[in-house]
Symmetry: C2
Subunit: 127 residues, 2 copies
């Protein structure tokens, strides 16, 4: 996969680190971020229970161990609450339908535009 940041800059989007976050935007961000993380973790908890229930041989056990290790790394990387990274974080969560546009209501138009652009970029990159 190509590097998203470099490609977006190439396509003419401003660096997200230039953005400032108002107090109310920070509150919206925190709530949407926490809700998405909570949903993803609860989904993974259910998955782990289902996968464990189907363990029949030792290789299934190591498949579960590898899956949980890989998901943990992925979740740690994805949920990066630094303001300089938040538009990309929400762009990814929007792309993965882990947050809705409704939950991002209260963000400035330029932030929403950047978030939507990144979600669109990821959709095209995955196609």
């Amino acid at each position: 996969m190509s590097s998203p940041s470099r490609s977006l800059i190439h396509y003419g989007y401003a660096s997200t680190s230039d953005m400032t976050w108002s107090r109310s935007e920070k509150a919206v961000a925190r709530q949407a971020f926490d809700a998405a993380l909570k949903r993803e973790l609860h989904q993974l908890m259910q998955e782990a229970k289902e996968i464990s229930g189907q363990i029949n041989q030792p290789s299934d056990l190591w498949d579960l161990q590898e899956y949980l290790t890989q998901r943990r790394k992925e979740i740690d990387r994805k949920y990066d609450y630094r303001y300089s990274h938040l538009t990309q974080v929400f762009g990814r969560l929007l792309h993965e339908t882990r947050v809705s546009e409704d939950e991002l209501r209260g963000f400035s138009e330029d932030k929403l535009k950047t978030i939507r652009s990144f979600a669109k970029f990821l959709a095209e990159d995955a196609a």
Copy 2:
């Protein structure tokens, strides 16, 4: 924990790498080794199911992930089927009651002595 090999040599036991394994001893070793590994893996499969069933919050999920990762490393290290390592391997399995003396019947007396000595050493080391 101190290094078992160094301490055993210090106590006057010969290096286990000097031992040769007859064809029939190899057959006994392979069977006892495989049986112990199978039992340990089946026990871990049951444990994983039980732990997963009790997952109630995200930290439980990561506890399971860490537990499986740690157990996998431990099992990989423990079940080392090199003839130069086998008396220590069986000494540990005997100490952990994962093999019985009955399963080792067919080994030469010097091997059994070394295996029992190592099991005893581990018991004393753990005390």
